[in-house]
């Protein structure tokens, strides 16, 4: 036995060397997900000593009929569909701007980094103040520009939703810009020189050289952004708390409300499973599209 430890075979050695990694993954990935699935089949309400009761599919049946769940799922999807391309466009513009041959590069880089370094909740609070109906500067501009009266931006479903998307795009565009900037700097300048010699216009240079060579960076940025967009929580939570009514509530907020505020861990876990399912569907669609495009490129 002792000799097996002091002088292990290759197989045993591999086991011992890999064990810590598996243990870690087990603790931080497998156990929580397993526990989530377990919880979703139980009635666990911490608000009154009902204990843990197995209820089978009851939570899932409630979920299917739960208007709040579908409303939040739709909001989450809409935020993803608006802010991912929106952030990408804004980020691309910023990256192109930062890639211009400035004499001093650091002020531009700093300006790019700052929104990214700001905590999400801060960004949400700042934008909540911008759109505040009495003290906000958006209303000040609005009145100066000839608006008839102060608007309640965050109390109307459509404008509240737009304001939140605007804040998310502002916040996420710098992250996208950083990734795209790295991509832009990988493009050799000789390509542009050759294009200029051949008489290509600026627009042609952009569409024929910059964009195709930037695709790998764009894909990376889009994947990261889609994942974070599906988990949107902080900005709507601090700007509107999901209001007015449930008009801007996302899935992550609904899960938080049920588990933390209502202490309904069972149903909260079921909602999280619902979100998990939606993410899987979206990822599948995404991967299918991308592999299709890879084939076209080949």
């Amino acid at each position: 036995m002792l000799s097996r430890i002091t002088n292990p075979s290759e197989k045993t050695l591999a086991f011992f060397l890999l064990a810590p990694a598996f243990l870690l993954i087990g603790c931080i990935v497998v156990y929580p997900i397993g526990r989530l699935i377990f919880n979703s089949f139980h009635d666990i309400r911490l608000s009154g000593g009902t204990g843990v009761k197995f209820v089978g599919l009851e939570n899932y049946l409630i979920l299917i009929k739960d208007r709040e769940f579908w409303n939040a799922a739709w909001n989450t999807l809409l935020i993803t569909l608006i802010t991912v391309p929106g952030g990408l466009l804004a980020g691309l513009g910023l990256a192109m701007l930062a890639n211009l041959p400035f004499k001093r590069k650091w002020p531009v880089r700093l300006a790019l980094l700052l929104p990214w370094a700001l905590p999400l909740a801060f960004a949400g609070l700042i934008f909540a103040w911008f759109f505040h109906s009495e003290f906000g500067f958006v209303n000040d501009l609005w009145l100066r520009a000839g608006g008839a009266q102060r608007e309640m931006w965050l109390s109307k479903p459509n404008t509240a939703f737009a304001a939140i998307c605007f804040a998310i795009i502002w916040k996420s565009s710098s992250f996208v810009a950083l990734i795209l900037l790295a991509g832009l700097q990988m493009i050799p300048s000789s390509l542009y020189e050759a294009a200029r010699v051949d008489g290509a216009s600026r627009w042609q240079q952009f569409t024929k050289i910059t964009l195709p060579l930037l695709v790998p960076s764009i894909v990376v940025a889009m994947i990261f952004r889609t994942i974070t967009a599906l988990q949107t929580f902080d900005i709507p939570y601090t700007m509107t708390k999901g209001g007015p009514g449930n008009a801007t509530e996302t899935l992550a907020m609904l899960i938080h409300k049920n588990t933390i505020d209502y202490l309904d861990v069972g149903y909260g876990s079921t909602l999280a499973m619902g979100m998990f399912g939606l993410s899987i569907i979206l990822t599948y669609v995404y991967l299918r599209r991308m592999s299709a495009e890879d084939h076209v490129n080949e």
């Binding site: 911490l46 608000s47 009154g48 000593g49 109906s133 109390s155 708390k241 007015p244 505020d261 209502y262």
Partner: protein
């Protein structure tokens, strides 16, 4: 060398734990619950109990933010906090969840007598399933604060109904012709106060939200009429269009800067309006909340309680502290220094108190007749349903009748 270092560290750790064993940590609510005044009373307790130190922790500006924070701490069975300040709607939920230490044993034979000294509503709210689970800190209720000077200038009498309120406000607003002056406001933002905003006109029509067994008995027509009343006020231009964004603190700011003629607000507002730096100091009056036409004035009872954590390691000392904090001298101090409403009927009649808070004369019957919000082990969920939907109605994303039907349907699931 190493061993001696270890001994020093060990010694310091032991010292630190022995010191913390004699200190009591109190979660003392948010700024509206005046932790500054509570601190002064804790100092008094420390003087009377040498060897005991009271630490204070302040959190969440609104009741529902505090509930969120405390739910997390208490679910984790955290022993760091010994005493919690609780909104009147919370003792039942916390007691049923097993988070509050029953106090009967600590109060001894006098327990029942002590509870009888408080205003009946506060005696009742703190007894759950026959056990005393908390002691009252101070009372509260919603009143209408109004600009006495403007009412007098235009000969407007204190309105008894919302219709009278609307015509009075119109008279004042038409006369003042000030675009920055708004009429009357109330808590319309989706915070705990919006539960009261929903219930007050409903109760005023003589209906109850729950029956004796705690079952929801919502009369949808009456609730719809109540919410329509607010929307009518907005349409008549006497309630700000953005009432759906107002929290008590927003109303205080507007009222204090002279931008609001009247507001429905809690007891603590009086003291803030009478502060030395307040432009409206000496110009304000207080009256009961108006009734619906043909109904009776109703108001929401508020108020805060002290509870000992079931996970505390210093329960006996903690119980002693909250007993001290729920006595008449402390109530008198909180009333005169912070206009926090007393939990004893006698304190309202105390000449020293009346000198500083002349409006207490009529405040007592209001507090005595104020109604309680539905008590439930799932109060967090009940409150969330009512306040988000009431808010949606006030910002007009839901029609009153639809919103009320939604509240009814969701409550059925919450209380399953």
């Amino acid at each position: 060398m190493k061993l001696s270092k270890f001994c020093v560290v060990l010694g310091l750790t032991l010292l630190a734990t022995s010191v913390s064993a004699q200190s009591i940590r109190v979660f003392s609510g948010g700024q509206n619950q005046r932790p500054d005044l509570m601190r002064l009373m804790f100092n008094e307790f420390e003087k009377q109990n040498p060897g005991l130190k009271v630490e204070i922790e302040v959190g969440g500006a609104t009741s529902e933010l505090q509930r969120q924070y405390l739910s997390t701490v208490l679910n984790a069975k955290d022993s760091a906090i010994d005493i919690y300040m609780l909104d009147i709607v919370n003792p039942m939920q916390y007691a049923r969840a097993g988070w509050l230490e029953p106090l009967d044993g600590y109060l001894g034979a006098e327990a029942a007598t002590i509870m009888k000294t408080y205003l009946p509503a506060y005696g009742a709210a703190n007894v759950v399933d026959g056990k005393i689970v908390a002691l009252p800190a101070f009372a509260d209720a919603q009143f209408v604060y109004y600009r006495k000077d403007l009412f007098e200038k235009y000969g407007v009498k204190e309105p008894k109904t919302w219709d009278e309120m609307a015509s009075g406000m119109k008279k004042i607003l038409d006369g003042e012709k000030n675009p920055n002056l708004a009429g009357v406001s109330t808590s319309g933002a989706a915070i705990e106060g919006a539960v009261c905003t929903f219930l007050v006109p409903y109760w005023s029509q003589g209906h109850e939200f729950t029956d004796a067994s705690g079952k929801i008995t919502l009369n949808k027509e009456a609730a719809t009429r109540g919410m329509n009343m607010y929307l009518n006020l907005v349409d008549q231009g006497v309630m700000p269009k953005n009432v759906g964004e107002h929290k008590p603190a927003d109303m205080n700011n507007l009222f204090k800067t002279g931008s609001l003629v009247a507001m429905v607000n809690w007891g603590f507002a009086w003291n803030l309006m009478q502060a030395a730096d307040s432009p409206v100091r000496g110009k304000i009056g207080v009256m009961p909340v108006p009734a619906m036409a043909g109904g009776k004035s109703a108001t929401c009872i508020g108020g805060w309680q002290w509870g000992v954590s079931a996970f505390s390691k210093n329960k006996a000392s903690a119980a002693r502290l909250i007993r001290f904090m729920s006595t008449q001298p402390v109530a008198k101090f909180l009333a005169t220094e912070g206009s926090l409403l007393p939990i004893f009927a006698e304190t309202y009649r105390d000449p020293d108190v009346l000198k500083k808070e002349p409006w207490y004369e009529f405040a007592l019957p209001v507090v005595q007749s104020a109604k309680g919000r539905p008590l439930s082990a799932n109060y967090g969920q009940v409150s969330d349903i009512v306040r988000t939907t009431a808010n949606a109605i006030l910002v007009r994303t839901a029609k009153p009748a639809d919103g009320v039907a939604e509240i009814d349907a969701k409550l059925a699931r919450a209380t399953r």
